[in-house]
């Protein structure tokens, strides 16, 4: 899995470093300084876990754990993998400093993708899907490794194929064991995976993580108020206060859907304030003319009275598939171009 120094062409190593540096810069910008010890401990745990060998037939293998790291740390798994791989290069000489950029992309890239997915969908915490994601992460690492090796020459192309084949049993084993790890974590401490997701929330800018939002829909006799967080989660059991000028005219509490109904006040303009937990607070001015008014929110007024407005953004599966297709297509193009170049070289009169 680790590519040693001296194997790859310089342009491949340099490109790997360039992309890795960009990824690290983005990750470091999102990492609050006070959370560094927490991430360091989890990175150390991932590093140590990857040293534990698992028997496989007559031999034993060590797991990559990039899928599980993605699930536990979110997109910050990329940063964790860079540190873990640097330590592996320093302590065990697995890989090297010159090829560290490519090695981070090969192993941390899939971890980042799994982390990105798991932060958007709690499905990643279900054991079967966690296992599938872990197996896919190892397979993607194998493909990236083969791709990096294939740039070194024709002989390396065959080595790359062998390396990719060697990844198949490891991917299956990794998927199976990751699913079992998630089962064990859910059994022993069910809240731990939620906590893991909490750590991955470090990726979200703090201003966004603590932002509370609201929609106000003025109706004939009532004001329909919906309070929610940026990820679509309703703000439950939060206090809603309605002001006319500086005078408090009504209060209510949001229900399980984050909805509160208040009587429509007799003033031209009212202020709605939602006071959430942990200091969350949002307020909005609403114009209340007697004629039918447009909603205060850009999200639009729901057409029916059931107010089945969903603030939760669906997972862009089509986009993900299109993105993966694009990456594979691009890789295929590069490979075919490289093969054609080699064939031309072989067919040239000099050979």
């Amino acid at each position: 899995m680790h590519i040693a120094d001296g194997v790859l062409p310089v342009w491949v190593s340099a490109s790997g470093w360039a992309v890795t540096v960009a990824g690290l810069a983005a990750s470091l910008r999102k990492l609050p300084p006070e959370e560094i010890p927490r991430l360091a401990l989890l990175t150390a745990a991932v590093f140590l876990a990857s040293l534990i060998h698992v028997p496989l037939g007559p031999t034993s293998v060590h797991l990559v754990l990039n899928g599980l790291t993605g699930i536990l740390l979110g997109p910050l798994a990329f940063l964790a993998f860079f540190v873990a791989l640097t330590l592996q290069a320093l302590l065990f000489q697995f890989g090297g400093l010159f090829s560290l950029g490519v090695n981070t992309l090969v192993m941390g890239g899939p971890a980042f993708l799994v982390g990105w997915f798991s932060r958007r969908s709690s499905l990643a915490l279900k054991p079967p899907l966690a296992g599938l994601l872990a197996a896919a992460a190892v397979l993607l690492s194998g493909i990236l490794l083969a791709l990096a090796l294939s740039f070194s020459g024709e002989a390396f192309l065959k080595v790359a194929r062998l390396a990719l084949l060697a990844h198949l049993p490891v991917a299956a084993l990794e998927g199976f064991i990751t699913a079992l790890i998630v089962v064990a974590l859910r059994k022993v401490r069910p809240g731990i995976l939620a906590l893991a997701l909490g750590v991955s929330f470090l990726w979200i800018p703090q201003a966004l993580a603590h932002r509370l939002d609201l929609d106000v829909f003025p109706e004939k006799d009532t004001l329909h108020i919906e309070a929610f967080f940026p990820d679509g989660t309703p703000a439950r059991n939060d206090q809603v206060v309605l002001y006319c000028g500086d005078q408090k005219v009504a209060t209510a509490t949001t229900n399980q859907e984050g909805v509160a109904l208040l009587p429509r006040p007799n003033c031209p303009e009212a202020k709605v304030v939602v006071k959430g937990k942990l200091g969350h607070r949002v307020e909005r001015m609403v114009k209340l003319s007697r004629s039918p008014s447009p909603p205060s929110s850009p999200k639009g007024h729901p057409k029916n009275s059931s107010r089945a407005v969903s603030h939760r953004e669906p997972l862009p599966l089509t986009g993900i598939l299109a993105g993966l297709g694009f990456i594979f297509g691009l890789s295929a193009l590069i490979l075919s171009w490289d093969t054609r170049r080699r064939l031309k070289e072989l067919a040239s009169p000099g050979n």
Binding site: D5, A44, A45
Partner: protein
């Protein structure tokens, strides 16, 4: 489970120990660039020879160097064998071709040379000094702090991982390729992560209580002209090797 210390012999009196890591790190970068640029066997052999001489100059114990050489040498040998038989060309011995043997030797020499440059530059200074040098050379402080914390916690968590493994063995656990082994291994991984999570809360509270807010990696004293002069031959050698790539 054992964690080697790359800087076990970081304090010494060899010419390389006396050089400042702020000069050794750029020199290492140029050495690695020069070694990785070449695909010619004579040049790769020359780079390996220079790397070997530098390792001798570092006066690191042979056992220490050989122990660390195991992984790159093993990976290099496997790769060299595959390259020797997969590269098309004129047959030499059995499936090995002349071109294959040439490429295999070149790659193997490059892997060994890269390792020897690395160990002679990094293992001849305490790791903390190397990290400080990286900070002085412009590496992000947050990244270096994360690295130092991780390195520190590795040794703390290692004891817990050892205890868990020992507890399994004490209860008669024997590894096999079966579902039960995988289930127990998965529980071992899960417990390791659980222990780390529990530790994070404890460690963070303790650190906050002591006023921790922003980790700092201190900068070393500015380089003196004598230190720079002492490092010039090494930097010149690295640049000379780099130039050889273009003029050989």
């Amino acid at each position: 489970m054992h964690l080697p210390e790359i800087d076990r012999y970081g304090r010494g009196h060899s010419p390389l120990h006396r050089l400042d890591p702020r000069l050794k790190l750029p020199a290492l970068g140029v050495f690695l660039l020069a070694t990785n640029l070449t695909w010619k066997l004579p040049l790769a052999a020359l780079f390996l020879l220079v790397a070997f001489l530098l390792t001798l100059l570092s006066r690191l114990p042979t056992n220490f160097v050989l122990w660390h050489l195991r992984a790159p040498a093993a990976l290099g040998l496997i790769l060299a064998f595959l390259l020797a038989i997969f590269t098309p060309g004129a047959p030499l011995v059995g499936p090995v071709t002349r071109e294959g043997a040439n490429l295999a030797a070149t790659v193997f020499f490059k892997i060994l040379a890269s390792f020897l440059y690395f160990i002679s530059m990094v293992a001849t200074a305490p790791l903390f000094r190397t990290i400080q040098a990286a900070r002085a050379l412009g590496a992000p402080e947050k990244l270096l702090a994360l690295f130092l914390f991780t390195y520190r916690y590795l040794f703390a968590l290692l004891d817990r991982a050892r205890n868990l493994s020992l507890a399994m063995q004490a209860r008669g656990f024997r590894e096999k390729t079966d579902r039960r082994t995988y289930e127990l291994k998965a529980r071992l991984y899960a417990l390791l992560f659980l222990r780390a999570y529990e530790e994070t809360e404890r460690v963070l509270l303790a650190m906050y209580a002591r006023g921790f807010s922003n980790p700092r990696v201190t900068l070393p004293q500015p380089l003196t002209s004598a230190q720079v002069l002492r490092g010039l031959p090494l930097l010149s050698l690295a640049l000379l090797l780099l130039a050889l790539n273009f003029f050989w």
